[in-house]
Amino acid sequence: MKGFKPSAPFLLLLPAMVVLAAVVVLPLILSLYSSFTPFRLTRPETFFVFVGFRNYLSILTNADFWWAFGRTVLLLTIALNLEMLLGLGLAMLVEKATRGQRILRTLMMFPMMFSPILVGFQFKFMFNDNIGLVNNALQSLGITEDAIPWLIEGHLAFIAISIAEIWSSTSIFAILILAGLLAMPKEPIEAARVDGCTPWQTFRCVTWPFVMPFAYIAMTIRSLDVARAYDIVKIMTDGGPAGRTELLWTLVGRTAYSDARMGLANAMAYFSILLSIAFTVYFYNKLAAARAQIGAEW
């Protein structure tokens, strides 16, 4: 009688699975359970009271939550689309450059090295209404007399946060799209030109389909940590003024640690997890589709 003999890949993946089970899956089960309790950090006995879907129901009727949810989706939509467009533009600019490619590529990676918390800090500094670079420049150039309250007025703060987010992540798109442009075979472009395509047609029908998988890889990577925006918002405005820039993640943090309402916060956290998963699965599928498409054409 031979004992159970596990296969090689199973053994190789075992450590990864153990760690992830212990640090991610188990805590998530725990938090799923506690989202059905009125658990408060200050009153441990509430951990064992079961209230069914009450937390979820109270979220559904909570206007602050839905504002934060909508704002998060809006920020992600604006940021991801602009990052993609700017990244594409930047990649094409750099690809066209005849000299200094290497140094340009290094400079392009510059924002990637900044941790989100640093990005938040440096833009908080630059957008400071009194001593910030942006206002100083505007005033010195005589464009405006008054100090613009970038981080104090709700809409402006949202714009400032979007700019910080876009600045920090455009380079990921640019680099991966540039990798796509460089890996692309040159013959199809020449063939298109010989056949009389305009530059726009060449781009639209030849370059873009080839670069698309690379763009989706960038999207997938980005969607893996869209919650990086938490760091930026946390330090730039901390959800203020008066909750005008509150995102899902800052709201979760505030509910859990400032209000100590863990149960409710966990219920909210599940919404944010689902949001992240939805983004990732969406882009992963897009990636597979784009890959299949060029597989068929080349």
Partner: protein, 288 residues
């Protein structure tokens, strides 16, 4: 003749537009960083001056000296944070890369049931936002008594890094031709020997960049660290940065100096790995 001249003119105009566009783009990318470095070297009076002083009148490294000369003078215990960051990042990177090599090799070399589902599953564990994960982890760590310890942070960061490390290392092993290892095995190597003597050396630059990437993730992480650390026992640099804002007034110069200290290792390491990193991420893009 006339047509030629106008074509030449158009081309020259395009070249100039391209140069200008490139220059502006690079300016926007670099300016925030340069501004931080510059501000860390200027006296506070100049930073606060109204109307602004554009050309620095005097430069000094006072902010750095103050920061590293202990609690009383710099305001915050930067050295402790620095040590914590280093210990936590290095240890968790080493563990994550070991686990990632095993996992990446499995994905690159074996076919097994549920492979793509499992890959997606691994990625999904990474999508859980740090702040959402921090709630149950906080609770668990308090129960286990490892809140505010190095162990707790290392454990969390290993889990954070494993999925991405597996993705990268999987890509690098795929670039190593399968035939090489098979040839080695025909020549009498065991699979274990073939791995260490043939495949590992070839994939090593890639694995090194995966390691650096993992290190940077730990070095920069904030959402988890801000909740799972409480004191100088385990606070890392990103959390320490907030110490400057906690007070009523913000010490901009000190913060800029700390920012520069945080960015320098990241800058150097990213510069080293940039080439391999892109290769690893995109290796699956076309081949599937």
């Amino acid at each position: 003749m006339d047509e030629n001249a106008s074509a030449r003119l158009t081309r020259r105009a395009l070249t100039v537009a391209h140069r200008v566009g490139l220059f502006l783009a690079m300016l926007v990318i670099c300016l925030p960083g340069i501004w931080i470095v510059l501000s860390s070297l200027r006296p506070t009076v100049e930073i606060m001056a109204k109307p602004p002083v554009w050309i620095p009148q005097q430069l000094s490294v006072d902010a750095y000296v103050a920061m590293f000369s202990g609690i009383g003078k710099g305001g915050i215990p930067v050295l402790d944070y620095f040590r914590n960051s280093l210990v936590i990042s290095v240890t968790s990177t080493a563990i994550a890369v070991a686990i990632g090599m095993a996992g990446g090799y499995a994905f690159a070399r074996y076919r097994f049931r549920g492979k793509s589902g499992m890959f997606l599953g691994l990625m999904l564990t990474r999508t859980v936002p740090g702040i959402a994960l921090s709630l149950p982890l906080f609770f668990l760590y308090v129960r286990l008594g490892i809140i505010d310890t190095h162990i707790g942070m290392i454990l969390a960061y290993v889990a954070l890094n494993v999925p991405f490390t597996i993705w990268l290392i999987d890509g690098f092993f795929r670039q190593v031709p399968k035939d090489l290892a098979e040839a080695a095995q025909i020549d009498g190597c065991t699979r274990w020997q073939a791995f260490w003597q043939v495949e590992f050396p070839l994939a090593r630059p890639g694995i090194a960049s995966a390691a650096i990437f993992a290190f940077l993730t730990c070095w920069n992480e904030f959402a988890l660290a801000s909740q799972l650390t409480r004191s100088v026992n385990s606070k890392t640099l990103p959390v320490g940065l907030l110490d400057y804002t906690a007070e009523f007034t913000i010490d901009w110069r000190g913060m800029c100096a700390l920012a520069v200290v945080m960015i320098i290792p990241a800058l150097a390491l990213t510069y080293i790995v940039q080439k391999h990193l892109v290769g690893g991420l995109t290796s699956g893009a076309v081949k599937g």
